[in-house]
Amino acid sequence: MDKIKMTANVIRQDEIAYEVYSLWLSAKEIANIAKPGQFVNLFSADGSRLLPRPISICEIDKDNGNLRLVYRVVGAGTKEFSVLTSDHSVEIMGPLGNGFTSEGKKAILIGGGIGIPPMLELAKELDCEKSIVLGFRDEEFLSEEFEPYGKVYKSSDAGNIGVKGTVMDAIKEYAITGDIIYACGPLPMLRAISDYALSNGIRAQISMEEKMACGIGACLACVCKSKDIDEHSKVNNKRICKEGPVFYAGEVEF
């Protein structure tokens, strides 16, 4: 069983924060083999929008063959998805990318903004001690769902949730330690985490983003600069959709 494109029925959808939606899809073939940190491509039903919308997998319910996606409305594609109800279906392709690799004894999971969702399935699956750091702009979402899996620390730009500032501020404030970091979030956050991890000798797996066309490594749209020569093109360009989206801090330059 490998990645496929299929029609997934919508099971339910809820707006869990302002313009942030939680979408449960029935996608047995994908759910069966998906791992935390992988993503799926969602396709618009409107013929004027042909490129896929990559969305990380937030939860995998293998028993029922369901997938949960959590996404923010930022443009026409996500706007379209946000009105889907259980009467609808959506074209979906996956699972895509490498996903997170379990390692270490004491993990720090860091999610920033719409980078929080993929950390949830990881939190569920990781079998070790976990600190979970979640950074918000000014509205909290999903955080109580992390509670069962580890101690949850929070930060917010506005200061209304947890520590005022970034996830790095929360890490310092609470002196959070670990031997492996898993992170997903905006580029400045990933940069700060990379720097922190590299200078403290901690391994860090970070999940990257780039515009995508094929989602499977064929088109070379989604590359990021890599320290080592990449296997595919021999030019220090790793494909986020294929070698990523999860890379080690230091492996990619950004």
Binding site: K5, A213, I216, A218, L220, A221, V223, S233, V235
Partner: protein
């Protein structure tokens, strides 16, 4: 029912191939389609040495299509010969290697290197709008096109397909230049040069500023050019630009294309090539067409 077509003496089991750069060397799409079902696989452009390509973002969505400025990232001909050709040889399909370069000698080097390789056709990309040197520069000037065609043809062991740029005033002038210089076939169209501005960020959507537009949006322009070229030269044509359905492919064939390449549509539907092959067969059955060759250029 016969779906076999022939491009410069190379027989395809059906007229469907893929457009260079949208399918890698087929490895990734092998998870979705049996490559042996395709008439031919056309590879991503390969140069004499590895190319890093352009900065990101390299693509943007456009209305009914997309634009790309990948910048011909590729591993160079050595890796390509070691890895990609052996892979493709395990499939029962024809191999078209797309060749790119910055100078005449770059092209010639790749072509010479491929002389003893088991590839069927060479597609010479003189129409990439996304690289500063080479590429489109050869494709917008009939004299330059004539010269590069001649130079490549002199060294090529396989038949050569010159891939034409649509960013010209009169595509037939270019087609004739390639024909006179000895090209064995033509493929068209490459992408149309476009631009997208992100009005929220007040910046270019693609780092390269300009990028090549592809997808269904450009199909009418592609069909027109294939028709014009088919009626201006004798060479067989691989038509492309926005093909996403069997009807689209048939449009190109009726306009005069012998084979048809599917590009951007793969990104939307990785099964699309085989669906198109099936759709063409259905059309032939319904319309009692015994031989696909009857349809080539049938609309005048």
């Amino acid at each position: 029912m016969n779906t076999k077509v022939s491009i410069a003496g190379v027989e395809f089991k059906n007229p469907i191939t893929v457009a260079s750069g949208t399918f890698g060397s087929g490895m990734e799409y092998n998870d979705f389609v049996d490559l042996s079902l395709l008439g031919a696989v056309t590879t991503k452009g390969v140069a004499n040495i590895p190319w890093a390509g352009n900065p990101t973002p390299r693509i943007a969505e456009t209305y009914g299509g997309m634009m790309n400025a990948i910048g011909l990232q590729n591993p160079g001909i050595d890796t390509f010969c070691e890895r990609d050709i052996p892979f493709l040889k395990t499939k029962d399909t024809k191999i078209i290697v797309n060749v790119c370069g910055k100078s005449e000698s770059d092209y010639v080097e790749v072509v010479e290197r491929l002389a003893d390789e088991p590839v069927d056709l060479l597609e010479i990309n003189v129409s990439c709008p996304n690289v500063k040197e080479g590429g489109i520069a050869f494709g917008q000037d009939p004299k330059a096109l004539y010269d590069i065609t001649k130079a490549v043809k002199a060294k090529a062991k396989q038949p050569i397909i010159m891939k034409l740029s649509p960013n010209v005033t009169d595509i037939t002038v270019m087609a004739k230049a390639a024909e006179e210089a000895g090209a064995d076939a033509l493929s068209l169209i490459n992408t149309l040069t476009g631009m997208k501005i992100d009005v929220k960020k007040r910046t270019f959507a693609v780092a390269n500023k300009t990028a090549g537009v592809s997808g269904p949006a450009i199909k009418p322009i592609a069909v027109r050019m294939v028709y014009q070229v088919a009626n201006a030269v004798k060479l067989p044509i691989i038509g492309m630009g926005g093909v996403a359905t069997a009807e689209d492919a048939l449009e190109f064939i009726m306009a005069g294309a012998t084979a048809v390449a599917v590009g951007t549509a793969n990104f939307h539907n990785p099964y699309v090539t085989t669906e198109i092959i099936k759709g063409i067969e259905d059309y032939m059955a319904e319309n009692k067409i015994n031989d696909i060759n009857e349809l080539i250029g049938c609309v005048k």
